[in-house]
């Protein structure tokens, strides 16, 4: 049967047409490419009118294949496949070629861009003629969901799903859920108590019949795909048997080893070697930190074991591996604070009374090391002047270019707390004041009225090198006041550094396990920055909260709920259609060498002992083609990416060169 191809070149407004002569490309394809029976250009091919045009042509001209030259297939492949399907054409007979991201947006020369567009269209036409109809595969969606991270975003998602009646597994690497929000004292701009609004959610998650918490645990491995992920979770040895522990706390009380708590207390307070990070921890089961425990250091003590009334301490406990099956995964792994020592001129770690924002959160917290009193590092003296330095490690080309978003508001909150709790003068050193959410600008004005001093300028240095008598014994903040156009030196007693929010240090590693990507800065990339903010490019994996970018509590909660809604949508569909772009093994010719079994990155090839052949588990195959290339007998074929299709595509790219070759060899020219 002769192929009858329709070619559709999109202007994308001026996005493509501004750099590529789209009319000419369409005309050229119609006149030169074999099998093209209709070739058109249109302002917006993805519009309903554009789609209708394709559908009508398919019917009118009996098209067998369709090529759309437009944007990235990530955006509109589904749209055009659907249009073909509407007109009775198998959707896998439609091929998109990317004339926007791959051509117009990355070109400066109109003529060359047009030439490249022609080559890409020719490639798509040559390829599409060899494409075969495929039937999508359906997979049942497991109603269980894995939430990675038990901070506020993860908790919100968990409770939304659990309340809707679906099972949720939460994996949290710390000993308790709660995340950073559990460390805070007050939340902006309403100044309500962080613990008061968070702990009910924590205990609800802890007690919910549909929720299983795995705290002090990490995700080791993820396999499978949407609907049926298989997850291996490592439950780190807690050295405390969860079933026996009642959370009475006598072990913590009697433990003789006290160490600096670098995690929950941000290095500002102490904890024992056996500890629960904070009183309202969920679960209330302590963990033994084997790096500081005296028993693990020199085989002495075991005080906790002797005193535990239920015999819950188990020094022999080992890491435990748990395997789960879930339909969807929500990633809510949160953020880390910028290490303020990386800007040595601000003195953190060198000058005692320079604090990080997290240390100050703990200081303000009534349950923190100072019982909520604002004191200098000596633990006694109340500061008379406090400086808050914004943008430490953010909006700084030496470290992170992005704006951390929340620090201005957090700084205002700190200012308010200092003014409320002490008689100190408060200075804020800011570059721009960014208070652009509901109630935020009003909060800024409140602080202006409360008498906080605002100095616009990036701090050059914080030093104890006094120049004038009034600077002696103080920390001096050297700054260019850009509103006055003057250098200023402001002596203060305490400096708070608003460290940037940074991605988790192992975000890329987890991303690789899940098959989702990170931005240059290390934040997880959403499917579409505006229109699909919680989905990722991998079906069935969603992101929520600060792991996707800096955001405050309301935004994290909104994303958590949004991700849960998306997951619920998947679950209620019960089945998902997955791409039939998979590998198949010709069993009659397979020698059973099993090379493909080991090479498959998705563990999607099984070995049939009885028949002595390998077989692809279609539901797990992602169509990557690794086995196709590796098979020494060449008996594995990848649907939609056959050798014939790929070579035809290459010949299409080289269309111009092939024509010249044909001219040079007149005998090769045929009708």
């Amino acid at each position: 049967m002769a192929e009858r191809v329709g070619v559709y070149i999109c202007h994308c407004g001026s996005n493509i047409a501004g750099m590529v002569d789209v009319e000419q490309v369409a005309k050229w394809a119609g006149e030169n490419l074999e099998g093209v029976v209709v070739s058109r250009d249109y302002k917006f091919m993805c519009s309903s009118l554009g789609q209708a045009m394709i559908e009508e042509d398919i019917k009118k001209h009996n098209l067998t294949h369709v090529v759309v030259g437009a944007c990235s297939p990530h955006l509109h492949e589904k749209t055009f496949r659907k249009a073909c399907q509407n007109a009775g054409l198998n959707p896998y007979l439609c091929q998109m070629t990317n004339l926007r991201e791959h051509v117009s947006w990355v070109s400066r020369d109109r003529e060359k861009a047009t030439e490249k567009a022609r080559a890409l269209v020719a490639a798509a036409v040559e390829r599409v003629k060899r494409q075969e109809p495929l039937q999508p595969l359906s997979v049942d969606v497991n109603p269980a969901t894995l939430v990675i991270g038990g901070g506020i975003a993860g908790l919100q998602a968990t409770l939304e799903l659990a309340d809707a009646g679906y099972p949720v597994y939460v994996v949290e690497r710390r000993p308790s859920i709660g995340g950073h929000m559990a460390q805070f004292d007050k939340t902006f701009p309403t100044l309500d108590c962080s613990a008061c609004i968070l702990t009910p959610k924590m205990s609800e998650a802890g007690q919910h019949p549909n929720v299983t918490l795995y705290t002090y645990s990490e995700v080791d491995e993820v396999s499978g795909s949407v609907g049926h992920f298989r997850v291996r979770i490592r439950r780190k040895a807690r050295m405390v048997t969860e079933d026996k522990c009642t959370g009475c706390g006598i072990c913590v009380e009697k433990c003789p080893r006290k160490v600096v708590d670098e995690d929950f207390e941000a290095g500002f307070g102490y904890r024992k070697a056996i500890y629960t990070p904070f009183p309202q921890a969920v679960p209330r089961i302590p963990v033994i930190d084997v790096h500081s425990c005296i028993w693990f250091e020199r085989q002495k003590c075991r005080a906790c074991e002797k005193l535990c009334p239920t015999g819950a301490i188990d020094f022999e406990q080992k890491d435990e591996i748990i395997e789960l099956e879930v339909g969807n995964i929500i990633v809510a792994t949160g953020w880390n604070m910028f290490d303020c020592r990386r800007i040595p001129q601000y003195g953190y770690g060198r000058l005692a009374n320079v604090f990080t924002a997290l240390e100050f959160e703990r200081m303000c917290n009534a349950a923190g090391p100072t019982n909520g009193k604002i004191l200098l590092r000596d633990g006694k003296t109340e500061p008379q002047t406090v400086a808050i330095v914004h943008c430490v490690g953010s909006r700084d080309s030496n470290h992170n270019e992005y704006c951390s978003g929340i620090c201005c508001m957090a700084a205002l909150k700190f200012g308010h707390l200092v003014l409320e709790k002490t008689k100190a003068e408060v200075y804020s050193f800011y570059i721009d004041m960014r208070t652009n959410q509901k109630g935020y600008e009003e909060f800024y004005h409140r602080l202006l009225e409360e008498g906080m001093h605002f100095v616009r300028g990036k701090v050059a240095e914080v030093t104890d090198a006094a120049r004038r008598p009034d600077e002696a014994g103080k920390l001096i903040v050297q700054v260019e006041d850009t509103l006055l156009g003057k250098q200023r030196r402001i002596p203060v007693d305490m400096v708070i550094l608003m460290g940037a929010l940074e991605p988790q240090t192992d975000a890329k590693e987890l991303g690789l396990k899940l098959g989702i990507s990170c931005s240059m800065a290390g934040w997880y990339t959403e499917r579409h920055p505006k229109l699909d903010p919680v989905a990722t490019m991998t079906d069935g994996i969603f992101v929520a909260g600060t792991c996707q970018g800096p955001k405050d509590i309301p935004a994290s909660v909104a994303q958590g709920a949004a991700a849960a809604a998306r997951v619920m949508g998947m679950i209620t569909k019960r089945k998902v259609w997955i791409e039939p772009v998979v590998a198949t093994i010709d069993e009659s010719r397979c020698s059973g060498c099993r090379i493909c079994n080991n090479i498959c990155p998705y563990n999607a090839i099984e070995y049939d002992e009885a028949k002595g052949v390998s077989r692809v588990i279609t539901a797990m195959c992602k169509g990557c083609g690794t086995c196709v290339a590796a098979c020494p007998a060449g008996v594995i074929s990848g649907a939609h990416f056959s050798n014939e299709q790929v070579f035809a595509e290459i010949e299409g790219i080289l269309w111009d060169a092939l024509q010249e070759e044909k001219k040079a060899e007149p005998q090769a020219v045929t009708g």
């Binding site: 030093t463 090198a465 120049r467």
Partner: protein, 295 residues
């Protein structure tokens, strides 16, 4: 190990102590310094503001004169070090400038391919190529009990700060702590000494010098060690006039870091150029170091 050596003008005269001590310490460490034949002035900080191309050509001439067998040059003076690195960098970044500079050099039958010669500071060499174990091994006279303020100045760490943190550098601190010295916190360690400001406005210059001396005194430093002839000159030679101007009484010896390295390595003090400084260093060093030895 062989390196080309670019002493620069200061080390010929007012900072001869630096030159002597660099050579003595290098000799001890087995670093062979081959002085570039017929080197010329780097133009210091001034020439660049007058005529950029000429300034570049004058500096590039020195790089072009580096023995083709050698690919690293050691420049102890901060201004020379910065200028050599700057020109090499500018020529790599800007092909137009590179071709103009090479046209100039061609008049003297010279040519320089940017990137051919790596400009090193002796501190970086000692810190990175020798390291803690080697240096500790060489100590004959531990600097125990001596309170040292390490003064980096502004040019060595900026703007090409590939080798140390530009705001709070630490390599010199580390080296002296390896040798047993009590390195004091010196927050102004990378601040400017005023450079040639003494020739323009004395009150301004004196204030800049006073801040450095005051900070060293506040931290009870016995000596300030420097890596720059300009810094040494300003802090040492103008110390008395600063005292007169502010009615202060600073008496802090300012010595080159290589001089103190030499002391720790047990080299002859005369060979290290002691006695050329205006605020005498020997009495303080002898008192501190023997006091510890006696105790």
């Amino acid at each position: 190990m062989k390196y080309a050596y670019y002493p620069g003008c200061s080390l010929e005269c007012n900072s001869a102590a630096y030159d002597h001590s660099v050579r003595a310490v290098a000799d001890l460490l087995g670093i062979e310094l081959r002085e570039i034949d017929d080197w010329n002035c780097c133009g210091a900080t001034e020439y660049f503001t007058q005529d950029e191309l000429a300034a570049c050509a004058v500096i590039a001439r020195n790089l072009a004169l580096v023995d083709p067998q050698l690919d690293q040059v050691v420049a102890p003076c901060a201004a020379c070090y910065l200028n050599l690195r700057k020109v090499d960098h500018l020529m790599q970044e800007n092909p137009e400038l590179e071709s103009k500079v090479n046209q100039c050099l061609a008049a003297g039958k010279l040519h320089y391919d940017p990137g051919r010669v790596r400009v090193r500071h002796l501190l970086d060499l000692i810190y990175s190529d020798f390291g803690e174990a080697t240096l500790r091994d060489k100590v004959v006279q531990p600097l125990t009990g001596l309170r040292v303020a390490c003064y980096y100045g502004c040019q060595i760490v900026r703007p090409f700060h590939g080798t140390d943190n530009p705001e709070q550098p630490t390599k010199l601190d580390e080296v002296f702590s390896w040798l047993g010295a009590e390195v004091v916190d010196f927050p102004v360690k990378a601040h400017c000494c005023g450079g040639h400001m003494t020739q323009i406005s004395e009150p301004q210059a004196f204030e800049m010098i006073r801040r450095l001396l005051a900070n060293a005194e506040e931290y009870k430093a016995d000596v300030i060690v420097t890596m720059c002839p300009m810094c040494q000159l300003n802090l040492d030679a103008y110390q008395a006039r600063v005292n007169g101007f502010f009615h202060t009484d600073y008496k802090i010896p300012i010595i080159f870091f290589t001089q103190l390295l030499g002391v720790a390595f047990g080299l002859d003090w005369k060979k290290l150029g002691f006695g050329k400084e205006i605020v005498p260093a020997e009495p303080v060093l002898r008192r501190k170091l023997t006091a510890v030895a006696a105790a």
